[in-house]
Amino acid sequence: MSQVGTEASPLRVAVVGAGPTGFYTTDYLLKQDRLIVEVDMFERLPTPFGLVRYGVAPDHQKIKSVTKVYDRIAQNPRFRFFGNVELGKQISLADLRNHYHQIIFTTGAQSDRRLGIPGEDLEGSVPATEFVAWYNGHPDYRDYQVDLSCEHVVVIGVGNVAMDVARILCRTPEELAVTDIADYALEALTASKVKHVTIVGRRGPAQAAFTTPEIKELGELADTEAIVLADEAELDPLSQSALASGSDRSTAKKVEIIQSYVERKPTEKSRTLTLRFLVSPIELIGDETGRVAAVRLAKNELYATDAGSLRSRQTDEVETVPAGLVFRSIGYRGIPLEGVPFYENWGVILNKEGRVIDPNSQTAVIGEYTAGWIKRGPSGIIGTNKPDALETVTHMLADAEAGATLNPSDACADTAAAFVAQRQPRFISYDDWLKLDEMELSRGEAQGRPRVKFTSVEEMLAAIGK
């Protein structure tokens, strides 16, 4: 095979998944000057940006502005976007191998982890990730039904997703109306009867995964009082000494804010948001109709592992709290792609620094790579995917220079595009997306909102005449 990565024979790369990692990968591939690279990005939804569009909470618009960076990346003439094209549906892995020298999977973590406790599947017990997708107008979830007619909601988990869900449930209609939340969600949340939201974390305040700005934000809600129980805010001796010995100022700050909520009492505000620590759900209890009615919680204590981290274990002390709705938010989880080695235990593609690894030979699968959450699991924030993508791209370029790529039968950009158009005539190009974006923004402007999203694929395709 002749050298790839030249003007005559560019290195052709397929990026599967249009979230932040897909864009950072593209950026690193296109802005280096060792090889000439062409990138085609495939996305199963018509719209790019993954969890920035469908995960980041609608009241966090500043973070969403990171898409301006992605827009700039997409302007590179060696980049093309094929939205509404799904791997395993309209195109297969074999098809990609026929048209590209390298394939990189940046599909993220699309499903949720389960609690593994009795009652988990009762009606009214739902993954927080589905609720998030619903209020963000994800086309797969627009018909999702969430019953907000109850007074008590329990959110299980203390990560950023749990915080988002609790906050969205506690925002006033006025606070939500200035966001790009889906119209139907705004309507449903305006009619919500929810009065008390409880977030439960199995470890203590010093181990909570949420960040300082997020906990601070809970204390600043217009019509909801944030409350922490005094005995749960108090640090146990192990956490105290861990904080005292380290130079972990951000955790110290976080704990300080949590403790400042202890003094707060229910006021004239209409809702309460209670943060509970050192409790684990052990059972969801249903009513006679099979709907969740309460959560049984066990009190936890902390112990130190050999390696020094503080884990929780249940004690005999148990309590029951009312809950007409339970959101399970103990983490996202990747789902396998057909034909791509997957490590089930951790929900990631089996890889070594981004090179996909064959489980039998333990060697790299030539031409296949991964980055982002499907590579390392759901951790960090949007920007964390940048160094992660760079690590993989470094190996992609080194492998390409060493001649270790796939050997596509047809590595031509035009025939690849023709092939995609034949398999999915209604694919969305980046220009199509920019038109949709413009329409959403102007619909938003008319209502004094940042944007009003299209929430169904058909609606999007119709809007751009496809």
Partner: protein, 147 residues
């Protein structure tokens, strides 16, 4: 951030050695795989010790014939073992305090990986880089659309 996120991109193939192998073999394995320590496992695959560059250097200073010794003669058998759920910041503190640089990780009884202090530094650096980038994005958003 926990240990699992570091392990997830290291593959699941852990380079191990048996206690009765020679130091010569341990050195060859470390060199070939560019690693600084080997987990020593018994015939059931259970970790019984760890042998690191430091163990070898320390012994080499006093015994030039060390290559013919067995791994079990110089390995550290007082082994700290981690789990994938261990917090990275806690592991970093423990490594500094107890002065060791490699932590074997066991999940459901199986050895699934080894974390070095270098892995931890890299993970923490990437986390900070990510935070800086996200903060910059927020600041740019604030300056471009004053509220």
């Amino acid at each position: 951030m926990n240990v699992r996120q570091i392990l997830a991109k290291k593959g699941i193939n852990v380079i191990t050695i048996r206690p009765d192998r020679q130091i010569r073999e341990a050195v060859t394995l470390m060199s070939r795989h560019h690693i600084g320590a080997l987990v020593v496992v018994n015939s059931d695959g259970n970790p019984v010790g760890i042998i690191s560059e430091r163990d070898i250097v320390r012994r080499a200073a006093e015994d030039e014939a060390l290559f013919g010794l067995e791994v079990q003669d110089i390995m550290t058998s007082d082994l700290v073992i981690g789990v994938p759920q261990d917090d990275i910041s806690s592991v970093a503190q423990t490594m500094t305090k107890k002065r060791f640089r490699h932590l074997p990780i066991v999940e459901n009884g199986d050895l699934v990986g080894i974390i070095s202090i270098g892995d931890i530094l890299k993970a923490e650096r990437d986390q900070y880089l990510g935070e800086i980038d996200t903060l910059e994005t927020k600041i740019q958003a604030e300056s471009s659309q004053p509220e």
